[in-house]
Amino acid sequence: MDTLFDILWDEHLIADIGDGIGLIAIDRVMLHERTGGVALKSLAAAGRTVMAPKQAFAVMDHIVDTLPGRSDRTLMPTGTAFITETRAAARAAGITLFDLGDERQGICHVISPEQAIVLPGATLVCPDSHTGTQGAFGALAWGIGSSEAEHALATGTLRVRKPATMRVTVTGRLADGVGAKDLALHIIALVGSDGAQGHAVEFAGEGVAALDIEQRQTLCNMATEMSAFCAIIAPDEQVFAALEGRPFAPHGADWDAAVARWRGLASHPDARFDREVTVDAAEVAPMISWGTSPQQAVPVTGAVPSAGGQAAANHRRALDYMALEEGAALIGLPIDAAFIGSCTNSRLSDLRRAAAVVKGRKVAPGVRAICVPGSGAVKRAAEAEGIAATLVEAGFEWREPGCSMCFFAGGESFGLRERVVSTTNRNFESRQGPETRTHIASPELVAASAIAGRIVDPRTKGGA
């Protein structure tokens, strides 16, 4: 009667440390130059080594520039040290490195499935909060800190407090023009930014099974924004097809044995979850955030809501920061910039949908529009398919892969108090630049708003 999470927990439990803590085997460790370099350096300084270097990977994504012709020199002050020191530490540790100039380079959570580093049923950790993204492949994947990354590298394990379980069931199917990003914001607005705290979240139901593998990654990615320990979706044939033949996927007899095992990875029909939430897909509309927390999101056709009781101080602070008033419509708000990218929405299908919206049209005068593909593979495919050309003709900047302006690291950013529509996952204060006002939404909504120069409903031809 186990849940999928319980099955994977039990499979990886090496020892019960007591009081709800398990010593859990870690199958894969991913690192990036922002938080991984310090873990490798600290490990070496303590005189320890990586226990299983063939199962550990590092990539440059957070600090590297995304401008054409980039090098180790970055616009971010002191950024070069993160790149060069992570490179040196990764080489010394003997782990696989996807460096600048490597055609496999890209955002860690985008390249992991491209390389089949993540596998169904595997445990994967990364010192990055959005690691739960990779649960879309039926893996137990969660974000950790740098000290825990050091622990995982040194011991092949982590001491983990067992989370409770929560299932989010999506009944029915999403309407045309509504996607996983909208579904995610709908769920987060419903349960709150800490609504899944202490819980491993399984997404299930017809509305989830109907999502393609890239949309599933978007959904799992956003579970971080409701404080989930991890997100997971039972793997299916679509997942196996997406991984087969990839560089680190099992081959030959191993592949057949693995798939046979993976087909059994699902919650028992009578499994009991500590918490159940049901969402009707038919009720999900294109969503956009209005405030400074992802839970502060409404249908784009809606208005800024009024505060309820105790949340008044937070609500007021968000309104002041965003320069909005209660009752204000979201549609029609003038924007300064539009950003398409990040581990949430930078995969080929995301860019394809954005390109379909802007095809034959131009970005509004005065609006800065940027598109950053999630990986080298996505970039090459988008260029081959004509997506890049469509975006560039419309007036988008077309960048090298990386995390880019999802966050402001002191280098490149949007301008002071600029209003940005963005496909990223966080609308925190100053996240994308000094006092920038970020509205997070789907690639379609961001693309349509870039053309209109103001927030629009992407379902309305020509913008409403």
Binding site: A15, R34, V38, K54, G143, G145, F248, R426
Partner: protein
């Protein structure tokens, strides 16, 4: 890691929900590939008048006595949400914080606290609010956190009891290193991996590429 038993110190009440790690330390303030040199960047967005400036904003509580000497942070729901950056905890620790009190914690932030000798004290929302509101008052006294009694109190408020799982409490209380503790299971880990290799050989990659 230093051991923690009992602390009486000024508390800084920042009674907002969802104080994220970008607020605790903005990405632009993470300037070196290390765990030090971060205290100056703590709460930089709220603490200084402008990005990159070191001129203190008079509005921010931590820039005033007695809050400037605080070793205990009191926050709202979901403290430490957002980025997994451990720099948030390193910055808090380097500034002098040893305790964070909140009604709920982001799980990665909570683990990062425990791994660095900062005690995460989870209280009921009304208990945290009572401490925070009192700490905001002129002439408010210090807060005491006791890791043996598992209590937190200040003059006229509490004591409130909090809980921590044994593993985390012992590490904090004794200043133990988690890796050292885990390596005591070295043989068991090796045996588990050997058996698992037969069950799931595809997990054990032969070569990096």
């Amino acid at each position: 890691m230093e051991a923690f038993s009992r602390l009486t110190a000024a508390a800084l009440p920042l009674m907002f929900d969802n104080i994220d790690t970008d607020i605790i330390i903005p990405s632009r303030e993470m300037k070196t590939v290390g765990k030090t040199g971060l205290a100056d960047g703590l709460f930089a967005g709220w603490r200084y008048v402008a990005v990159g400036s070191r001129e203190k904003s008079p509005d921010f509580l931590m820039n005033r006595a007695p809050y400037a000497d605080a070793k205990i942070l009191i926050a709202g729901q979901n403290v430490g949400c957002g980025s997994s950056r451990e720099h948030a905890v390193w910055a808090l620790h380097e500034y002098g914080f040893r305790v964070v009190i909140a009604p709920s914690f982001n799980p990665i932030f909570r683990n990062n606290c425990i791994r660095n000798g900062i005690v995460p004290v989870q209280l009921a929302a009304e208990e945290a609010r009572a401490l925070g509101d009192t700490a905001l008052r002129e002439g408010a006294g210090p807060v005491t956190v006791d890791l043996d009694a598992m209590t937190v109190e200040m003059a006229g408020v509490g004591p409130f009891v909090f809980a921590l799982e044994d593993d985390s409490r012992l590490m904090l209380r004794n200043g133990w290193d988690a890796i050292d503790l885990t390596l005591q299971h070295r043989d068991r880990i090796a045996a588990w991996r050997e058996a698992d290799r037969a069950r799931r050989p595809w997990i054990y990659l032969e070569a990096g590429r």
